[in-house]
């Protein structure tokens, strides 16, 4: 907005400041990745100097190979992807459908239910973890083997409780509220049923908010699922990526392998983030505006 030319030295100073701050934000990551390539002894030695950031010395992928031996990493990653993806897809539909009915339909009880849902924003997950554990112990499940009781050590126990959440519903509600109501009325006059209006009119116009909600849900499911899986997924077969971390802290801690594991589970997310960073940033900005 300035027509004045900022002097070169002023600009330079700004870049210097920005860069220093950037270093603060990024140095642990560089350290992590670089360290994952070093053998433990060198790793520990290097971390008391600037060599911590440099891929010098005995560089190799040994730590990674060892890490794959220590823990079934592909299994964990596969689990995380499956759990995260399933939760996201089901969540998008359940929450947008509910939000649609809150915004566009008139029905008794709507206000009360929406208030209750929004009030769950204050409840941290840890507060309900234990009662939830008791509940899932008694829930039935149908599978190829018939009906069984109890959801422990399964995928559904890590997916179903997290499909509906207040934040996602709130985001959809705010977005739908901003859509022109006349579109829905015109569709009515055109004879579309409520489900048709949802699928053919509202959904196609909701790209941005789906991206936002999906990204936030992804971060929540992939990154933050830690306490719950520890509680409910004791069998290795069903464990997600964050719980896998525990495998690296039994007996002796091999920090090189730890760094390798951290890198393995973090780099894909970082890559995804960098390539879609516009969408990520827009997601957070959206929540700010809708709030």
């Amino acid at each position: 907005m300035d027509n004045l030319k900022v002097s070169i030295s002023r600009q330079l100073m700004r870049y210097v400041l920005l860069s220093w701050i950037a270093l603060i934000f990024i140095f642990p990551l560089i350290f992590m990745i670089v360290s994952s390539l070093k053998p433990d002894l060198q790793l520990l030695r290097d971390s008391s100097s600037f060599r911590a950031f440099l891929p010098v010395g005995d560089i190799s992928f040994n730590n990674y190979i060892e890490a794959f031996d220590r823990a079934p990493i592909f299994l964990f990653i596969g689990n995380s992807i499956f759990i995260t993806a399933t939760t996201i897809i089901l969540s998008m539909f359940a929450c947008s459908l509910a939000a649609f009915s809150f915004v566009f339909l008139e029905w008794k009880g709507k206000g009360v239910i929406l208030s209750i849902i929004l009030s769950t924003l204050i409840v941290p997950f840890e507060a309900i973890a234990i009662p939830l554990l008791l509940i899932v112990n008694f829930l039935p499940w149908v599978s190829v083997d018939g009906i069984s009781i109890g959801w422990l050590n399964s995928y559904q126990v890590q997916i179903i409780p997290f499909i509906a959440d207040a934040i996602t519903i709130y985001l959809f509600v705010q977005y739908f509220k901003d859509l022109p109501k006349e579109l829905v009325e015109a569709a009515h006059v055109d004879g579309a049923s409520w489900f048709r209006i949802y699928s053919k009119i509202i959904l196609p116009l909701s790209g941005p908010i789906f991206a936002t909600a999906a990204i936030l849900k992804f971060l929540a499911m992939y990154n933050n699922q830690f306490l719950w899986p520890i509680m409910v997924a004791q069998e290795e077969q069903f464990r997600p990526v964050m719980v896998g971390l525990l495998y690296f802290f039994q007996l002796n801690v091999a920090w090189g392998e730890v760094m390798a594991y951290l890198s393995i589970i973090t780099i894909p997310v970082l890559a995804f983030y960098i390539s879609m960073q516009k969408a990520f940033v827009a997601s957070v900005a959206n929540t700010g505006i809708k709030g």
Binding site: P180, E182, L183, E185, A186, A187, H188, V189, D190, G191, A192, R196, I201, P204, L205
Partner: protein
Amino acid sequence: MANVKLTDIYKKYGTTEVVHGVNLSIHSGEFVVFVGPSGCGKSTLLRMVAGLEEITSGTIEIGDEIVNDIVPAERGVAMVFQSYALYPHMTVFENMAFGLKMAKVKKPEIEKRVHEAAEVLQISSYLDRLPKQLSGGQRQRVAIGRAIVRNPKVFLFDEPLSNLDAALRVQTRIEIAKLHSQLSATMIYVTHDQVEAMTLADKIVVLNKGIIEQVGSPIELYNSPKNKFVAEFIGSPKMNIIELEGNDKVSINNLQMPTHTSKIGVRPEHITLADTSSSMLSGTIRHIENLGEHLLCYINTVSTHEITAKIDVKSKVDLNQEVYLKWNPEISHYFNSADQSIK
């Protein structure tokens, strides 16, 4: 085409009643305009006919069938919205075809009807475009096309021209009038602009605060308004109301008035300059606007009371000049203290 009948219509939002007992008969093929200031209930009435608003009490009949409990799509109505409400992610063709698709009309039939309607409105060349690629006027025509395609019994227009600029408004107004004569359709048109009402309507319904003030043809409403509200609403510039009672009363000469007259109404276009002997009313010119084809003079009669006079552009008048005015007594309007018209 069908007739429409509104009987004893009341509408309440919670505890607030916004429509208080409306009765109206619309004949098949008529172009009826609901007109009135903001909040008068005209849009609410239209939406009740459409089925977009619940009817608190009373009945609405379309084609002699009570439609209170029938969904909009099955009432045989089509609506053109103020903001056009075109589906932004669909092409013009898809927009126009949507209603037919919902009604499970077969594809060839849909093609035929959409192309026909597009011809009538001259939008055939835009069928593949998205609404955002069209101008306001073009979008409006698509919105109308969407309505035509459904062959409705009644067309409903909700202030369709308010989002257009002045020139486009005149042009589209003419097109809507042409459409009406082409299709001989029953049309209910809502606007707050009395010029649109006067030029388009077979019958005008003047609404104020939820009740009907008067129903009649444009000329009837112009010549014989039933009360002060209608008198002031129809005609631009507004009819002058001259108070004969109270603090702002003005003295009128040379005019025979019926008893109980409390106010006199005179249209600015009917006032002419007079000499002192034939003068009915005198005042001082406070402001003159020259519109090229005539002059608008704002004349102060007493204290803050002001009269507007539309006079010949060649008249020799100046600011702060004392003037004498007269008009044809035959076309005076007289109102009693209850603002009703008396003769």
